[in-house]
Amino acid sequence: MKRFRRQFIFGLLALIAATVGALWLNAKYNALPNYAYLTGWALLAGMFVLTIYNVRKKLPFLPLGKSETWLQIHIYLGFFTTLLFLIHLNFRLPHGWFEAVLAWLFVLVSGSGFVGLFFSRVLPRRLATRGGEVIFEKIPALCHALKTEAETLALGSEAKSVVIAEFYTKRLAVFFSGPKNFWNHLAESRREVSGLLAELEDLRRFASEIEKEKISKLAALVRQKDGLDYHRALQLALRLWLFVHIPLTYGLLIFTALHIILVFGFSGGAR
């Protein structure tokens, strides 16, 4: 893991150096009368650089540098900007309504960023280990195909097995009807599917030879469906965190613009 380790060490060292520098500067200049203005502008500059990553992503055809480099800067600058945020607030909770909402927006944006970073580094490995690689947009069609296959197997006119049909209607129909077990899969819990498979195995006691074969096939289908669900759950998580991170960023920027107007309009310097 040389290249990624190198990136990590370099980024971490830069972050530590920046943190130490920022805290030292904070201690030194804290008493400056307009200190909050200066930290505010630094914070805004950080937020601005973080936001234009979104712009870069929309211009992949321009030679603006590798997205990987941009993301590294985005991540470490994100951490540093959180520190700037704390410095700007002087490590205290704001009081008024507007400032509280503004602070919460920032917390949500950076918090969702941390969650996203965690997801991006943890979930792909799980997906690769589990196997069954599939493109996200193809999952509904594959799911549907599995459902049709399972239904035909269990309930079709040639099925001729009451035991299996009953079990399918009672337990498996719901399982195959759509994506399932989102939270279970995120938590790496196989409880649900293990339960289903165990029940399916139990049926073998009452099954004839042909039915045993059907049960094996059904079990294979259950496993395939579970694999699909797993991929859907994790890939969806990898997409959904951005539903918090990006929209709230723009909300935050709007609130920040108003914050600047309020600060300059209501501070002593207003004329």
């Binding site: 008493a31 069954g132 990006i246 300059f264 309009g265 209501f266 207003a270």
Partner: protein, 525 residues
């Protein structure tokens, strides 16, 4: 690895297009149509094919040909040229990406709408944008009424220029702010102490800043008095004061390197009190020996049997902060009765005016007569008077001599038994005015006695309240028991105060404890 699932098979003949915003509505069932939705999400499906009119040479009408990709269908197109197999339109599904874009736009719209609504509505606006509770004096109906009286706007507008503006007005004011939004250098180098627009609002009610030094620079009210910090306005801090006083660069041009030292904290570098450093002395001409009065063995006890203590002479005034001036009649005559006739201790000289004393002495017969009438002596009043006068003459010779003795005698010339009504161990010869006062010969009829000065305040720059110090014994601060000279200023050095007024002592030691900023200088008396 063997546990790994195999990748599901799917139709890999076509590209996956995550760059499109919409997916065919039938894709979830695996039956995505060939046409696909357009960029705006409209289903493009019409029919299986688009029939084409083919006219062979020589024909007039021609024939419609089916153009289905998989090969011509059996029935062929309808006579009017439309395909026999229309495909029902689906409802294209927006992708997650598109949803994300919509959510982003929604959040932007909602933020703008919410903020505009709130900002356009004054009561909501004020509550929303206020960064903290306003202090009690500046909130409430009374303040609002006062604001109007003093030609201020109501609520936020009472102080803030933009206080009553909607969003438009706020932006205008923000643009006009000084330092401006993008004046980074000015922001970085600006001094918070500079007066601002808000100060003008303060001055509408709090007239006149009344700086403690006329030469001090103008300082913004908000610099020391921060609003929006809660129901109680925050107390000023040492930092506020040391903003100037802790900065030699600021102080020296003002004081021209003469007096002001750099001060940061009372316990650390507050200078020693000036009366000590300048070795001042009490200019009082009245001779008084505290040590003698408090510890001398010959000092008689008071009426109740107690020793003479500080409280007998030094009484707090009505407010309790300071002490009343010592009065002769109340505090001194008790022992120093001003009697001059050992046989007649009841006859006491008046105190306060040289003319009165002189007149009294010249009218001694009358005085004795009054005394006789007062005390109801048996003998004839005149005889009484004659007897007394004879005794005086025997003692003092002439009237002038007596007068001289009265004014100028500084010590006892013969032992006295009692001074006044108080009986002592030995007889004291009465001390004259000069015993305590500075008596000077003068060309006028009566000698000149310098009026004693009771300096009211020594530490004029500070405020002090004896009432707050009742837990402290007088002697802890005022070293009277060791003072023999009137010239001694019996005030404590700074260290005595620091004992308690310091971080270690635990009592409040901010500048504001003792010094006020706004009241004009108290003139030394």
């Amino acid at each position: 690895m063997s546990e790994q699932l195999p990748a599901p098979e799917f139709d890999a003949q076509n590209y996956a297009r995550p760059n499109q915003n919409y997916i065919c509505g039938n894709a979830c069932e695996g039956k995505a149509c060939r046409q696909g939705p357009d960029a705006k999400g409209r289903c493009g499906a019409t029919a299986d094919c688009k029939p084409v009119l083919k006219t062979k040479p020589g024909e007039t009408k021609g024939r419609w040909i089916c153009t289905r990709p998989g090969g011509e269908c059996e029935s062929g197109p309808l006579p009017d040229g439309s395909c026999c197999n229309p495909v029902p339109k689906c409802s294209p599904v927006p992708t997650l990406r598109l949803w994300r874009g919509r959510v982003t736009l929604a959040v932007i719209a909602a933020s703008c709408a919410l903020l505009l609504v709130i900002l356009g509505n004054p009561p909501w606006r004020n509550n929303f944008i206020s960064p903290g509770t306003i202090s009690n004096p500046h909130s409430g109906a009374a303040f609002a009424a006062l604001a109007i009286t003093n030609h201020l706007n109501e609520s936020c507008g009472a102080c803030h220029v933009a206080g009553n503006s909607g969003p438009n007005g706020m932006v205008n004011v923000a643009m006009r702010a000084d330092p401006g939004i993008l004046d980074f250098e000015k922001i970085a180098s600006a001094s918070a102490a500079n007066p601002t627009a808000i100060d003008e609002s303060c001055l509408k009610c709090h007239a006149g800043r009344n700086f403690h030094q006329p030469s001090a620079p103008q300082i913004s009210c908000a610099f020391c008095h921060a609003e929006h910090q809660g129901k109680m306005m925050a107390a000023t801090t040492d930092a506020n004061c040391s903003f100037c006083h802790g900065d030699a660069a600021k102080m020296n041009p003002i004081t021209k390197n003469t007096v002001a030292p750099v001060i940061h904290h009372f316990a650390d570098d507050h200078p020693q009190f000036r009366f000590i450093t300048e070795n001042l002395h009490d200019p009082d001409t009245l001779k008084f020996n505290h040590a003698l009065h408090l510890t001398g063995p010959t000092i008689p006890k008071l009426a109740g049997g107690e020793k003479l203590d500080c409280a007998f002479c030094h009484q707090p005034d009505t407010a309790g902060a300071f002490m009343k001036p010592v009065e002769f009649e109340k505090n001194c005559r008790v022992c120093h009765s001003l009697q001059f006739d050992p046989q007649t201790p009841e006859l006491q000289l008046p105190h306060g005016s040289v003319e009165f004393v002189s007149a009294f002495l010249r009218s001694l017969p009358k005085q004795y007569l009054n005394l006789a009438a007062q005390f109801g002596k048996d003998e004839d009043a005149n005889v009484f008077v004659e007897k007394k006068l004879a005794g005086l003459r025997a003692q003092f010779g002439s009237g002038e001599d007596l007068e001289k003795r009265v004014f100028f005698s500084t010590s006892t010339t013969a032992p006295e038994i009692s001074v006044g009504n108080v009986t002592g161990a030995a007889r004291a010869i009465f001390p004259g005015c000069a015993y305590c006062h500075e008596v000077k010969n003068s060309s006028a009829r009566a000698p000149e006695i310098t009026r004693p000065i009771q300096t009211e305040r020594w530490l004029v720059q500070a405020k002090f309240n004896h009432l707050k110090h009742t837990s402290v014994a007088c002697a802890q601060c005022h070293d009277a028991v060791h003072s023999k000279d009137t010239a001694d200023i019996l005030l404590p050095a700074k260290e005595a105060c620091v004992t308690c007024h310091s971080p270690r002592g635990g009592v409040a030691d901010t500048c504001a404890e003792c010094h006020t900023y706004h009241k004009p200088l108290v003139a030394a008396q």
